[in-house]
């Protein structure tokens, strides 16, 4: 077992519990054990960076420093929003030694720069071989890999993948047997930033993402961010209302899709928590006969679809 630092952040303990559950479910198969960052706090995403610059850096800096003190060098951060805050903070602290000193003063902890946050895609990509080896039921579905904005922007700071046309998730999904479709909305805005202030607009923006995914033949949308998931899954009724259509395409965290390919049960992966039922078209023609068990198709959904 390799040990790796883990920062779940608030989402993975709340609205995105299934992300945490599915991650914890697949890790043993890859020989990885999580070490929680001790006494962690809010990363400051969503509000701090709009209000107070120093606070927005001090919050993540405190987490980074505590992790460093615990001896953590690689820290897995599944939430893309948290991940974005960590990378931004490291960038700013490295650029400006005065700022770094001020932040150290605030947190009372020295940030040494020995820690390296990993987003879920980076983490899995490094273990592609283990994921492949653990694949029992290839996930033979057309999938639209949706990256959202937080993992790739701003590109000069995030330095992750090709910012306008990332490939990491597509390659991972190919590795577990899926067929990633070529589509146009991989990094398009889902409207998450306007979730509260302008929900109607979110319905429209997220709706276009779903529309293009469906038009491109996707049977599932794969995400790596709780905010993406919330907008594409939780807001489905608003989306359908705005579009005047009923989209049923399910939205899965990459950890859930990988878990299915590993043959894990849908409860273990938290699939029952989704608002949009995780259900795939039954027939795909003789040539593409499904070898994949359809875990969600015969299970009772935890919640009923609103639309």
């Amino acid at each position: 077992m390799t040990k790796i630092g883990y920062y779940p952040g608030c989402s993975l303990l709340g609205t995105a519990r299934e992300y945490d559950e599915s991650l914890r479910a697949i890790l043993p198969r890859m020989g990885v054990e999580l070490v929680d960052v001790p006494d962690w706090n809010c990363c400051g995403a969503s509000s701090a960076h709009m209000l107070n610059h120093e606070l927005s850096l001090s919050l993540p800096a405190r987490i980074l420093s505590s992790a460093e003190n615990k001896g953590i060098t690689d820290m897995l951060v599944p939430c893309a929003a948290c991940y974005n805050r960590f990378v931004m903070t490291i960038h700013e602290l490295n650029e400006d030694s005065k700022l770094r000193a001020r932040v150290a003063d605030i947190t009372g902890l020295d940030y040494r720069g020995t820690i390296h946050p990993l987003n879920i895609l980076e983490f899995l990509e490094k273990r592609t071989d283990a994921v492949k080896a653990a694949t029992a039921l290839p996930f033979e579905r057309n999938v639209a890999c949706y990256y959202g904005c937080l993992l790739v922007r701003p590109p000069t700071v995030m330095k992750f993948d090709r910012s306008e046309d990332p490939r990491t998730m597509d390659d991972l999904m190919s590795a577990v047997g899926a067929n990633p479709v070529d589509w146009a909305f991989k990094v398009e805005c889902c409207g998450a930033g306007l979730s509260i202030t302008s929900p109607a607009l979110v319905g429209k923006l997220s709706g276009r993402i779903i529309e293009n995914a469906v038009k491109s033949g996707a049977e599932a949308i794969i995400v790596a961010c709780p905010l993406c998931h919330a907008n594409l899954d939780m807001r489905r009724s608003a989306i359908n209302k705005a579009a005047g259509k009923k989209y049923t395409v399910p939205v899965l965290y990459i950890t859930q899709a990988v878990g299915l390919a590993m043959g894990l049960k849908e409860k273990e992966l938290g699939l029952h928590r989704h608002l949009v039922k995780v259900r795939f078209p039954a027939d795909r023609g003789a040539a593409q006969a499904p070898t994949h068990a359809q875990p969600a198709a015969d299970s009772e959904p935890a919640q009923t679809e609103e639309a």
Binding site: E164, D165, D182, A184
Partner: protein, 663 residues
């Protein structure tokens, strides 16, 4: 003992008005080593100069100080006068009593005292001046022109017509460059090939021009007037003397599905091919990477069908040595491919093309014979979107500069499309329209007003395919940032002009500087735009930065006239104000330690390492050596040298020190 003559000029009242010139001359006369000191109304006048000449002869002066105006004004005058009187001109110095003293201070004792200080300081410097001889460099009157596009063609013809030999090197099988690919040219819409091909033929037939196509520069050594170049003639596998250019080989070649470079990937060519019908020379080459015989060992169809038996499969690259006195760099530019733009589909949409590809679509000699058909299905597009500044002026893309030609050619493209497809709609997304140039803005206005091209001021954020159309997402910033989506059949990206592939390696071979985008750097952006920092190497055209045809041609002629000027003399005379590395008696041979740290600091790559040998050839030391042909005399190496082994003639450490210590 020095015998210095001091000559104080009144410059009418210009100096004498605030400085007591007689007093200055008197004070100078009391400085040890001064044997003659006078003041006079106008030193630069004939009588004034005669005074200096006579004093040099009569008093056998060993140095002259003229206290007058700025040396930037009259130093050549007084040095010439000294030379005429038999005194080495570099033994004459000027003290700037006018611009730096009388004109900038009030009449006072302090001003006179300053003038005395300046004179004394120069006296001490002159005492240490050494007679210097101008550097003579022989000039080989032949020019090497690298690149056979319109820049290289123009430069070659101008130099050749001035009566000098030209060696032209082009890496493609034919000369002509990008201009030969263009359909029509702005702002006149005359056919590009019609105006270019006569010039190409002229190059081929000119008695003073030696043409090496399908060739590249291997190396260049030497310095201004004395370059030695090696040129690699790549094997064409065709005996050019026997080949008549009949074209039978290309016609019968069984491998025909190779993407044509000339047609920017929109057409096909065979493995043995002439890039285009008007190619110069009209002799084919075998593309070994695609030729069945070279790949599989079998075929030889071209050999069988060649009526003159000109095919030579065993031909090898040849290296040719040439000696030239000057080099003109005219290696042109490239345009980015559509695969540079992830947000525009990373090159995977066939109907998203770049400007050069559109030129081929619009060209009567192109793959569609001038009919605008989209590449995917050959349909005539009903809606075409042109995206200006694709990559250019976009720091996020790493290209901050304006590619300069796109505004004009985009207007031309839209216009050509509208002329050919009357009922079609053309949109242009732009940031600004830059149409400075004779008849340029009028041309753009014509596209907008007469040809109804819809100009939208805004940038395109994404292009994707949906339902067989290309969805172009943008914004109209003049209409309140309204998001805009156009469903187009064809999108033309005016992709950024970038440095030609291999420009960086070439610059390093030639020791010319280049910018962060690998465009070659001019010696001075305003006053020396066609020269490089390496004396004897000149620039023409888009290898310096993207530019249009008229600008390229005028710059090529500029470079050619620089070359002709250089070739107007048998010998090049240069001021001897250059750095030298000292040589001392054994066992030191030179105080230079050979550390070589000065070499990268030299802006002209003038410093090399030299082995110092005894008479029997034993190497006793490796020390730096300055090439006087390349050194421009900045002295950066001098200040850097810890042991003071390098010194700058005319501004030696001793001279400056003495000058300073007299102040």
């Amino acid at each position: 003992m020095s015998r210095i003559g001091v000559f104080i000029c009144h410059c009418g009242e210009n100096i004498n008005g605030t400085v007591d010139c007689a007093k200055v001359a008197e004070a100078a006369s009391r400085v040890p080593g001064v044997s003659h000191s006078v003041d006079y109304k106008y030193m630069c006048s004939d009588p004034g100069q005669s005074m200096i000449k006579e004093a040099i002869k009569e008093k056998k002066l060993t140095g002259v100080v003229v206290g007058a105006c700025s040396p930037r004004m009259h130093e050549p005058t007084f040095r010439r006068a000294c030379a005429e009187a038999g005194l080495n001109p570099y033994l004459c110095e000027m003290a700037n009593l006018r611009e730096h003293c009388s004109w900038v201070h009030e009449k006072s004792e302090a001003t006179t005292r300053k003038a005395v200080d300046l004179i004394k300081s120069m006296i001490e410097k002159v005492k240490l001046n050494q007679p210097l001889q101008p550097i003579k460099v022989p000039v080989t009157r032949a020019a090497l022109v690298l690149g056979g596009g319109i820049a290289g063609i123009q430069a070659s013809l101008d130099i050749a017509n001035a009566g000098h030999q030209v060696i032209m090197v082009e890496r493609e099988p034919s000369i002509g460059g990008h201009m030969s690919q263009l359909s029509e040219t702005f702002p006149t819409l005359d056919c590009s090939q019609c105006i270019l091909t006569p010039r190409m033929v002229e190059v081929a037939q000119h008695p003073n021009i030696t043409l090496h196509t399908y060739s590249e520069l291997e190396s260049l050594e030497g310095f201004i007037g004395n370059f030695k170049a090696k040129i690699r003639n790549k094997a064409r596998c065709v005996d050019e003397k026997l080949c008549t250019g009949c074209g039978m080989c290309a016609q019968k070649c069984p491998t025909k599905k190779i993407s044509s470079e000339f047609n920017a990937g929109l057409g096909m060519r065979s493995a043995i091919y002439v890039p285009f019908p008007q190619a110069v020379p009209n002799k084919p080459v075998i593309d070994k990477d695609h030729c069945t015989f070279f790949q599989k060992g079998k075929c030889k169809v071209c050999e069988k069908v060649c009526p003159t038996k000109a095919i030579r499969y065993d031909q090898e690259d040849r290296i040719i040595d040439v000696e030239v006195g000057a080099v003109v760099l005219a290696t042109g530019f490239d345009v980015l491919g559509t695969d540079f733009f992830p947000e525009y589909g990373y090159g995977r949409y066939k109907d998203v093309i770049n400007g050069l590809q559109f030129e081929r679509l619009a060209s009567a000699s192109g793959p569609t014979l001038g009919v605008i058909k989209r590449p995917s299905d050959g349909k005539v597009p009903e809606t075409v979107v042109f995206v200006a500044c694709a990559g250019s002026r976009d720091p996020a893309k790493g290209i901050e500069y304006c590619s300069k030609i796109c505004c004009m050619y985009t207007a031309k493209h839209a216009m050509l499309y509208k002329h050919k497809v009357h009922e079609g709609s053309a949109y242009v997304f732009y940031m600004d329209i830059r149409a400075g140039g004779k008849m340029y803005d009028e041309f753009v206005r014509r596209a907008i007003e007469e040809d109804d091209v819809k100009y939208v001021r805004g940038r395109v954020s994404r292009i994707y395919e949906e339902d067989g159309k290309l969805v172009v997402k943008g914004a109209d910033t003049l209409l309140g940032h309204e998001p805009l989506e156009i469903r187009a059949d064809l999108v033309v990206l005016a992709t950024a002009g970038v440095a030609s592939s291999g420009a960086e390696e070439l610059a390093q071979k030639l020791h010319v500087s280049y910018d962060s985008h690998h465009f070659f750097a001019e010696a001075h952006p305003k006053l020396r735009p066609v020269e490089t920092n390496t004396a004897g190497i000149f620039l023409a055209g888009a290898c310096q930065s993207p530019r249009d045809i008229p600008e390229t041609v005028s710059q090529a002629s500029g470079a050619a006239s620089k070359v002709a000027g250089l070739f107007s003399q048998e010998e090049l005379t240069r001021e001897p104000l250059v750095a030298v590395v000292n040589r001392t008696a054994p066992p030191l041979y030179s105080t230079c330690t050979g550390c070589g740290l000065c070499m990268p600091a030299c802006p002209y790559q003038a410093i090399e390492m030299e082995e110092i040998r005894t008479r029997d050839g034993t190497v006793v030391k490796v020390a730096a050596k300055v090439n006087p042909g390349l050194c421009q005399g900045c002295g950066t190496c001098v200040a850097l040298c810890r042991v003071k082994a390098i010194d700058l003639q005319g501004y030696t450490n001793e001279q400056i020190y003495a000058e300073l210590m007299a102040l």
